[in-house]
Symmetry: C2
Subunit: 302 residues, 2 copies
Amino acid sequence: EPVVLVIRNESDTAGATDGLPFGPFSPVQHRTLESGLRAWVHRQTGLELGYAEQLYTFGDRGRHAQLDDIAPHVVSIGYLALTQVKPSLEMQNGAWRSWYHFFPWEDWRRGRPEILEETIEPRLREWASNRNAAAQPVSRQERVRMCFALDGATWDEEKVLERYELLFEAGLVEEAARDGRDASRHWGERPRLGVPMQYDHRRILATAIGRVRAKIKYRPVIFELMPDDFTLFELQRTVEAILGPHLHKQNFRRLVEGAGLVEPTGEVKMRTGGRPAKLYRFRREVLLERPAPGVRVKPGKV
Amino acid sequence: EPVVLVIRNESDTAGATDGLPFGPFSPVQHRTLESGLRAWVHRQTGLELGYAEQLYTFGDRGRHAQLDDIAPHVVSIGYLALTQVKPSLEMQNGAWRSWYHFFPWEDWRRGRPEILEETIEPRLREWASNRNAAAQPVSRQERVRMCFALDGATWDEEKVLERYELLFEAGLVEEAARDGRDASRHWGERPRLGVPMQYDHRRILATAIGRVRAKIKYRPVIFELMPDDFTLFELQRTVEAILGPHLHKQNFRRLVEGAGLVEPTGEVKMRTGGRPAKLYRFRREVLLERPAPGVRVKPGKV
DNA sequence: CCGTTTATGCTCAAAGTGAGCAATACGGAC
DNA sequence: GTCCGTATTGCTCACTTTGAGCATAAACGG
């Protein structure tokens, strides 16, 4: 299960709301943004971050507004960090939550999520067919079709943010109500599409999920989430947990082995439920061999 | 020629130095970072930005330090904007400069740049073979080899930032001297590797070039740089100007046409020096047809 | 010892890619 | 006017990559 570290925020009027961990950056104490992040995370949660990269900087006015809370303007520099969950680490106020708790429509591991056909599609179609909706530069119809793979379009698992923003615009997520964009005025009760988060944190998380989904395809970051030794099927399960849909087992194995991403340790794992599985480890040398797989236009002659 | 908009900065002690345009962001005046950027660029240069995306946020301490100038800590949120150069637009203090003015080693349009073999390679090899250089997690040798395509490695045109940072670490660019990392102490006079920029602006530009080079491969941003109508060879020349190396003409044509990125206008352009060339235009519909070309692991069965 | 379950090996067709040959058509030189 | 150089455009062909499925191997539970 892909999980995210959240802070339960009890001070909310409508009960506890999850938020992403965040804190101030002080250039006086820390030489770089990233070192500030690491120090701050460690102090708060005891977690020593491994892989971390800058995600996006969120600075829109109103992003911090929430209910009757008038906050000062805050610019947040989001970072994406990847880690295994160490059960040994007991955190006071942090908790691990499944991604799909917040984005149920992104979980395609058991096929197309029911919430799409039952709730999202009809609501979005109605929203898209609204008057003066066709006047947009790109029609709402087309945006809905591309983002949610309607009418034969293919589901692009990387468009996590685009989907969330569409639902936001359509007033179908709870956070939109804070922005005055409330669907309940038009179509009765708003359905609960995933669990909302504090401030604009669900948007930030959507950005992060989209980034991870894109990145594992051209950088071996998936191994940040694996133990040292693993079977190819465990690796596949991890990739699937992140991307959403199922992968073809034999081809996945061919791809991963053929790309030189892994090497067998020589050990096997018993009790898999069937034939024992060879254990593999990440081949770090691959970083020095391939520039970065996934190029499109390749240099040629003349 | 791919160019960047720079501001000539006369106040420098060592004569005029080019810098990227920048200015303050005031959340009171502007609702979003991007709208602040647009308004500010328009007021300064008269330019109406078209395509713009957030690039990276630069916040390291010391990034603003320069010579005897002790500046306050500044966090810069970099944006990347793409536009055609309109010669009609006369700017007071702005000027268009070739990318390769600042990064001569990135220009592979006339084959491997001489500066690589003549200056960069020997200097970097010396730096990499230094004592305790092999103790690094990834050896300097390997980093140099991967970044600059030595010993049979292939040149990855996207690693613009990595190359600049390596040269910086090795003390081979002028900006490094401000950071106390001066090669001239070891190896005599520092060679002039490209023209330096103000503050850390050359690093920011390297980030931007790397981003553009990566992005044109999976998003049709190249058309932001083209006039409405163009020949396929003009398009190829533009791509080559950005990426560096030459492309195979017939295959480029097949790729672009086959991907549905362009459609013929029906017109032809005479006086090409040979047979007249058909004119094409960008097919906007492609945005609605393909999710985003360039995916690696595709969903399959079971 | 057999059936179930998972791991792993292999094949095959279809699509995509790198490279080059060849024909077409204009502009300029003679 | 004809020829030649140059650039555009069409096409072939071998080779690689990819999607999909069949078949076999090896543990485990009864």
